[in-house]
């Protein structure tokens, strides 16, 4: 009863030039971590606003101080995410720390309209809000709606993302650092036949990660393609490595 489409978290986008790019939408947990970091930053900014309040209150008067405080808190609360997202190419400090980025679903940069929209709807995502919270300047909630929407949509979008047509994606490759030090020196050999893109990638993966596998596992992996590489066992592994090196370096 296997489902027809294989489950994946990727989103493929074909650009006008026929080039395919892959977006990797990020799930709720790294986003929650990024949110926690951003909240700490917000608190930091609030403390700075408080400092400003004391300075202005001392210099000008307490009423001016309160005015400045309310204004700064408003700007921080409503502007923090929008300003960072638009001016720092979709990365608030928290997202940068987690290696995330906000983009349009087309993969394009997020602009004012989309960012303002997704952050206004943050209120809906926060719901249910903490009770009796209207007495406070800033609101906070349990993020139940956002989490539900995030888990229920294919591309992990919260309500704000759905409305503003944006995504949060992983920005940096997380497996790229694997092992350039563990590369095996083999003589590159051209494959005897035309390989599809996926098959080429498989050969490259085999070469890159061969050092992490035991010899017997390498031989086992290379055994189905004995007909392609024309050898089995140890010799087969060496030939497969050669083909992988050839594809990678050419």
């Amino acid at each position: 009863m296997a489902a027809p489409v294989k489950l994946d978290t990727l989103q493929t986008i074909e650009l006008a030039e026929g080039v395919q790019i892959l977006l990797r939408p990020a799930g709720p947990l790294p986003r929650a971590l990024a949110l926690i970091i951003d909240m700490l930053f917000c608190v930091l900014f609030f403390l700075l606003a408080l400092l400003l309040f004391f300075i202005v209150g001392r210099l000008v008067g307490i009423e001016a101080g309160v005015g400045v405080l309310l204004l700064t808190v408003f700007v921080i609360y409503w502007g923090y995410f929008v300003l960072y997202e638009v001016l720092r190419k979709g990365q608030t400090p928290g997202k940068k720390f987690l290696g995330l980025r906000v983009v349009r679903t087309s993969g394009a940069r997020v602009r004012w309209g989309a960012s303002i929209m997704r952050n206004l709807v943050r209120f809906a995502d926060m719901m249910p809000l903490l009770p009796q919270w209207e007495l406070w300047v800033v609101a906070f909630g349990f993020y139940l709606f956002g989490m539900t929407s995030c888990l229920a949509t294919r591309r992990f979008q919260r309500l704000g993302d759905l409305i503003a047509d944006t995504l949060v994606v992983y920005d940096r490759s997380s497996t790229g650092e694997l092992n350039s030090a563990l590369r095996v020196a083999v003589h590159p050999t051209a494959p005897g036949l035309v390989l599809t893109r996926e098959e080429q990638l498989a050969f490259i993966q085999f070469t890159e990660r061969a050092a992490t596998w035991s010899d017997s596992r390498k031989e086992e992996l290379a055994s189905p393609i004995a007909a392609v590489i024309g050898a089995t066992g140890r010799e087969g592994v060496v030939r497969a490595l050669g083909i992988g090196t050839w594809i990678r370096d050419s």
Binding site: A26, E199, P224
Partner: protein, 481 residues
């Protein structure tokens, strides 16, 4: 286990990405998982909760919490089998359920002792390590070694996963309760909820039973939802570790390549066996040239010219005088139109400014304070009619006639801005604008008498009414004077 049948895309992922894959797996099978959970775990909970008759509640709750690894086996059973293309039916889950409870029950429960006896890692990476116990059947030494290998690649993420899921479990309990409280139409009910919390938390009050049970219900709901995704995430991490450690993705790709070659092998052999045809190249090239030289393949180009009527684009500019006149006319019309609009606006400027006199003049009220104040509703000789009524003993009717008569005079003769909504006091205030003193004073006295009769039911003294009847200062009923 046939790797080719795997129902998710396997490739090396980062730890968070594999958590996401786990979430996606849970999402795909969510209704199924929820149904299986409801058929297996929920009845167990009900049985456990029923024992609160004999066992203290906190102990029952501790047992419910402690048995989490047992519950985790249900979603893991479904997810792991459906990953390899064989989603178990609910019947299969039910059949496997007793085994899930009792298979290696004691070691699993011991693993749950945090930090102490067997494995501190297990309490941090439960859903990630459960596949080792359940799917690989690792025990003792083997389990320890295997766990070390796996945790090396995903240890940090499992801890973060654990903490976040724990936080979310709490969030969900209170979020659900808050949501429920906000759904209560009666705000006092919502308030009661918050108060009860505060009482228990800060004022050492006794938690009411309804709150205890709604907390328990909220916690069990929250555990259900979080646990399903937590197990999915752990399983995603586990699958990714195996993919990295054993090259599952490479194996799948290589097997697919082998199958593709086996299918095309026959075709390849056939192509390779064809005789070489290089010698025929020159002949065919000549033949192609011959064919292309034929008239049919000649490319024709046709160039056509089309006359454009001269007047179309030169006319207006050539006849300069006319054009100038036309321009002049155009601008004159525009200026005239603007001037006309400005004049109209100026002429009707009263529309735009609200002067009270204008509005008051615009509509004289037909009734004031519910009384008919149109001149036609009054008798020709008000004084005589009023005196008649007074003599008949109807003081109220007499004063009413007088009052209405004076109002009519104020509205129609003195043209005071009396409105339909004005009260007696307002009318007196309007009357103060009268230039002469006698109608002013008379109206005030009349209002006094009328108010007493109308609202207090007190008939003024005889001489007072007599005075009002004789001192009538208004010339006629419609102010014809």
């Amino acid at each position: 286990m046939r790797l080719e049948d795997v129902s998710a895309e396997l490739r090396p992922r980062g730890p968070w990405e594999s958590v996401d894959l786990g979430f996606a797996m849970t999402r795909r099978h969510f209704p199924h998982l929820l149904a299986a959970w409801g058929l297996t775990v929920v009845p167990l909970w009900l049985v456990l909760l029923a024992t609160t008759h004999w066992v203290p509640l906190w102990l029952v709750l501790l047992v419910i919490w402690w048995m989490k690894p047992i519950y985790d086996r249900v979603p893991l059973f479904i997810l792991s089998r459906s990953l390899f293309g064989d989603t178990p039916k609910l019947r299969d889950v039910l059949r496997a359920w007793p085994g899930m409870i009792f298979r290696r029950f004691v070691p699993l429960m011991l693993l749950r002792v945090p930090w102490v006896i067997v494995s501190p890692a297990f309490s941090w990476a439960r859903s990630f390590l459960l596949p080792l116990v359940d799917l690989e059947g690792q025990k003792g030494r083997g389990f320890k070694e295997r766990q070390k290998v796996l945790l090396q690649s995903a240890g940090g993420t499992t801890a973060a996963l654990m903490v976040l899921c724990g936080v979310y479990e709490v969030f969900l309990v209170f979020g659900l309760l808050t949501l429920g409280g906000q759904m209560i139409a009666n705000p006092a009910g919502a308030f009661q909820l918050g108060e009860a919390f505060m009482d228990t938390a800060f004022r050492h009050g006794q938690m009411p039973a309804w709150l205890v049970w709604s907390l328990i219900a909220g916690y069990l709901c929250s555990m259900t939802l979080v646990e399903l995704f937590y197990v999915g995430a752990g399983f995603g991490l586990y699958i990714n570790c195996r993919t990295l450690l054993e090259g599952w993705d490479v194996e799948i790709a290589f097997r697919r390549l082998a199958r593709r070659l086996a299918q095309t092998a026959v075709a390849i052999v056939a192509i390779c066996c064809l005789p070489a045809t290089g010698a025929a190249d020159d002949e065919s090239a000549d033949a192609i040239k011959q064919v292309l030289a034929h008239e049919d393949f000649k490319v024709h180009t046709v160039e056509t010219w089309q006359a454009v009527p001269e007047g179309d684009y030169k006319g207006p500019r050539e006849s300069g005088l006319l054009a100038k006149f036309g321009n002049l006319l155009f601008y004159t019309v525009i200026i005239a139109a603007v001037a006309l609009i400005a004049w109209l606006v100026w002429k009707n400027r009263h529309i735009f400014q609200r002067t009270p006199s204008a509005t008051a003049k615009a509509k004289t009220p037909r009734t004031v304070m519910g009384m008919d104040v149109s001149p036609d509703s009054l008798p020709a000789d008000i004084i005589a009619a009023a005196r008649l009524r007074w003599q008949e003993g109807d003081a109220r009717g007499a004063l009413s006639l007088l009052y209405r008569g004076s109002l009519v005079w104020l509205i129609h003769s003195a043209r005071l801005p009396v409105r339909e909504s004005d009260t007696e006091g307002d009318c007196v205030r309007h009357a103060r604008a009268l230039p002469e003193a006698s109608p002013r004073n008379y109206f005030e006295a009349l209002t006094c008498g009328w108010v007493l009769v109308a609202y207090a039911g007190r008939v003024p003294a005889g001489e007072e009414i007599e005075h009002l009847l004789t001192a009538w200062p208004f010339a006629g009923k419609d102010g014809a004077s």
